[in-house]
């Protein structure tokens, strides 16, 4: 570490590299945080979902299986425990079925309004999507989807629309508009319930959805029908080669494989990409052998990781729609609802809940770095805090755990009186 600082000082290490290396070493040493604790306000419930707001990265929203929703401030602690030196963060407020129009059954998904934290949206198994005002903690708007709501998402890039995409037990995806209070779009094409929906991080018009039938579909809401279905058989070796032929010669062995593949296999790529006139309704291409349980786009929107109940994670190249064949070993994903994964903002690590642990993988090589164990029951969701490099996870054991990089012992607050007492106790009369 000090060698790295010395190299930065003499100029041998450029500043952005220094920062990246430092962040990387911190990330890879993530473990259960000793200095921070979130006191979960949920009683007899399961933590279904969490979301850290995009604007201030300060408030954590969580939904539980008894219909309660709570908000925590993760910057400012409510209490500080001196003996164990942990800061405790309690819920700022909690709403449950006692509030007018509150959720009666399990809350399956929560989402902050992308612009500010004055509004948040929740979806639940009682067939309703509620839009809440944070300051008054009342339900402002309610949408009745006639089936269980599994997932909802709002686009963080949107400047022209305020649509909530909801994935329900119904095979149709309906988009709700906060501005008008009505349903604006109905996207049909899935053949079974839709478990995950995500807006693209590259375009405000593109929605990705994954269903119980194992298909992942891309929808452009300005057009009718989906324009791409991901097929697990359509694959490419690694990342796509650069467009210019002369720059491909300077790349290594792996890209030679890629170009070789591309030359030999154009019929397969064509079959996987029907861009011309929409896709037939009976298209049965699947991205997973089971249902799609989780979707996570990388921050640049060029790649996407999908998790399926066949216990597989796949990395997809969004532009070409191909499976990049990265193998993430030994995941175990089963269940009857979606899970939520987290990817670091520089797309280097992916955190996946798998039974009682969270598995940490390198995104590009599939190498498994560690498994974070701390929960007593099945983990449902993870949320990554980019500034603090912390991971928040919620599970069926009603707890929200904080995972942070290893902290050095705090020397400034070292308790000198305790240390002196310890030294005094050690002094005995055996010397001279």
């Amino acid at each position: 570490m000090w060698q790295m600082v010395g190299r930065r000082e003499t100029g041998r290490l450029p500043p952005h590299k220094f920062r990246a290396l430092l962040q990387k070493t911190r990330l890879y040493s993530i473990e259960l945080a000793g200095h921070k604790e979130i006191a979960s306000a949920h009683k007899s419930g399961v933590n279904s979902l969490q979301q850290i707001d995009a604007t201030e990265a300060r408030y954590l929203l969580s939904g539980a299986a008894d219909g309660s929703v709570a908000v925590y401030d993760i910057e400012q602690a409510t209490a500080y425990d001196h003996s164990t030196r942990t800061s405790k963060h309690e819920a700022l407020f909690m709403v449950d079925k006692r509030v007018l129009n509150g959720h009666l059954y399990s809350v399956s998904c929560v989402h902050w309004y992308p612009i500010d934290t004055g509004i948040f949206v929740t979806g639940s198994f009682d067939n309703f999507v509620n839009v809440w005002d944070t300051n008054t903690t009342q339900v402002e708007l309610q949408f009745n989807m006639s089936k269980k709501v599994y997932s909802l998402s709002m686009s963080t890039l949107a400047t022209t629309h305020m649509l909530i995409a909801t994935g329900t037990d119904d095979t149709r995806i309906r988009l709700c508009d906060i501005a008008s209070g009505a349903f604006t779009h109905t996207l049909s094409g899935h053949r079974d319930s839709v478990w995950v929906v995500q807006w693209s991080t590259r375009s405000e018009w593109v929605l990705v959805s994954g269903g119980c039938d194992g298909a992942i579909r891309f929808w452009d809401i300005r057009r009718a029908g989906c324009y791409q279905i991901l097929d697990q058989q359509c694959s490419q070796i690694g990342r796509r080669p650069p467009v210019l032929k002369k720059s491909s010669r300077t790349h290594g062995r792996e890209d030679n494989l890629c170009t070789k593949y591309l030359n030999a296999s154009s019929p397969i790529r064509q079959r996987g990409q029907k861009r011309s006139f929409g896709i037939s309704a009976v298209d049965s291409r699947t991205a997973h052998y089971g249902s799609v349980a989780g979707l996570q786009m990388t921050a640049d929107g060029l790649h996407m990781i999908s998790a399926g109940t066949d216990s597989r994670l796949r990395l997809w190249d969004v532009e070409s729609g191909c499976n990049t064949l990265v193998n993430y070993p030994s995941t175990y994903i089963r269940g009857n609802k979606g899970i939520q994964m987290a990817v670091t903002p520089d797309s280097s690590l992916v955190f996946t809940p798998s039974l009682n642990a969270i598995l940490v993988y390198d995104v590009w090589s599939g190498h498994s770095y560690s498994s974070l164990r701390g929960h007593y029951d099945q983990v449902n969701c993870c949320a990554f805090h980019p500034q603090g490099q912390e991971l928040y996870t919620g599970s069926n054991d009603r707890k929200i755990l904080v995972w942070a990089p290893r902290r050095p012992i705090d020397i400034d607050n070292f308790d000198y009186e305790d240390a002196e007492q310890a030294i005094k106790a050690d002094e005995d009369a055996w010397s001279d």
């Binding site: 070796i237 070789k260 066949d310 597989r312 064949l325 193998n327 070993p329 030994s330 599939g366």
Partner: protein, 293 residues
């Protein structure tokens, strides 16, 4: 850059790995060693496929190709059924540590039509890899077996299968629509009786989930699939019954599985690759154990 001298040592290393496995009787060992080393030397002929370095006309085979050849050579001999040797992908994962590399090299070998990958019905993740030539010879054997019983215009479907469908369609499954479109592209008309003949021969198996779509399959594999699933269960129960759920590999290799025609080494490799068993090195030898979590 590897020189010729290093290639010879590579082959002899691969041969020594094959030879150092512990078969039970000495005369069978000599026979098996011979066949295995001949398999390894056949790497020289087709090592230009599935490889990524070219030098002096000698090419180094990829890790996956070497592992495939090695396991292929160690396939147990089965009487009563004539199935050419196949390799499970979990066995390849147990040998080559980097799974992403295995997936990618396997994809390249599939494109080069060296191997064919089939989805087995024993589990969600079970894939069998068979060399292309072995599969083609198996299809021809079936065709000659059904020769007397069906008219020849029906049997021509086997030729169409080998010449048109297999080279173009790389997936493990196929739909009616695809079959029709591929064959009409070369001017042949496929009919219901052709499809039912393929199903009877065991080359196509109906998919339960979707109508009109099929899995491509290895013929005569039914009894082996039963052996596979029962052998796995037996091996896991053997370990689970013990107090600490572990046993030395040398002791395990001497046991014979009652319910499976495939040998112990096949099952151990398969379970290692699928993550249900772990190996650890101890001063007493290699230990096979079931992980606690």
């Amino acid at each position: 850059m590897m020189k010729k001298r290093d290639l010879k040592s590579l082959y002899s290393w691969a041969g020594s790995i094959v030879a150092s496995s512990t078969p039970k009787k000495t005369e069978k060992r000599a026979k098996r060693e011979q066949s295995a080393t001949s398999e390894v030397e056949s790497l020289a002929q087709d090592s230009h496929q599935g490889s990524y370095e070219k030098e002096d006309g000698f090419t180094v085979p990829s890790d996956t190709a070497v592992a495939l050849r090695m396991i292929h050579g160690q396939f147990p001999k089965i009487d009563k059924v004539s199935v050419p040797p196949f390799v499970l992908i979990s066995q390849v994962y147990s040998i080559v540590k980097d799974r992403t590399l295995v997936d990618r090299e396997l994809e390249v070998m599939k494109q080069d039509k060296d191997v064919r990958v089939f989805k087995l019905s024993t589990g969600q993740d079970d894939f069998a890899i068979m060399f292309f030539d072995d599969y083609v010879s198996q299809v021809n054997a079936i065709k000659s077996r059904l020769d007397g019983k069906h008219p020849s215009e029906d049997l021509v479907i086997f030729d169409w299968y080998i010449n048109h469908i297999l080279p173009i369609h790389m997936d493990a499954g196929i739909t009616d629509f695809h079959l029709e479109s591929i064959l009409s592209g070369v001017g042949h008309q496929i009919q219901e009786r052709h499809i039912s003949l393929l199903i009877k021969a065991g080359l196509l198996v109906r998919q339960l989930a979707h109508e009109r779509s099929y899995w491509l399959a290895i013929p005569n594999i039914g009894s082996l699939l039963k052996s596979l699933s029962q052998g796995r269960k037996e091996l896991l129960s053997l370990l689970n019954r013990r107090q600490y759920k572990e046993v030395l590999l040398s002791i395990l290799e001497k046991k014979k599985l009652r319910m499976s025609q495939l040998d112990m080494r096949f099952h151990v490799r398969d379970l290692l690759g699928s993550g249900q068993l772990f190996l650890s090195h101890t001063p007493a030898g290699i230990l096979v154990r079931i992980p606690r979590d």
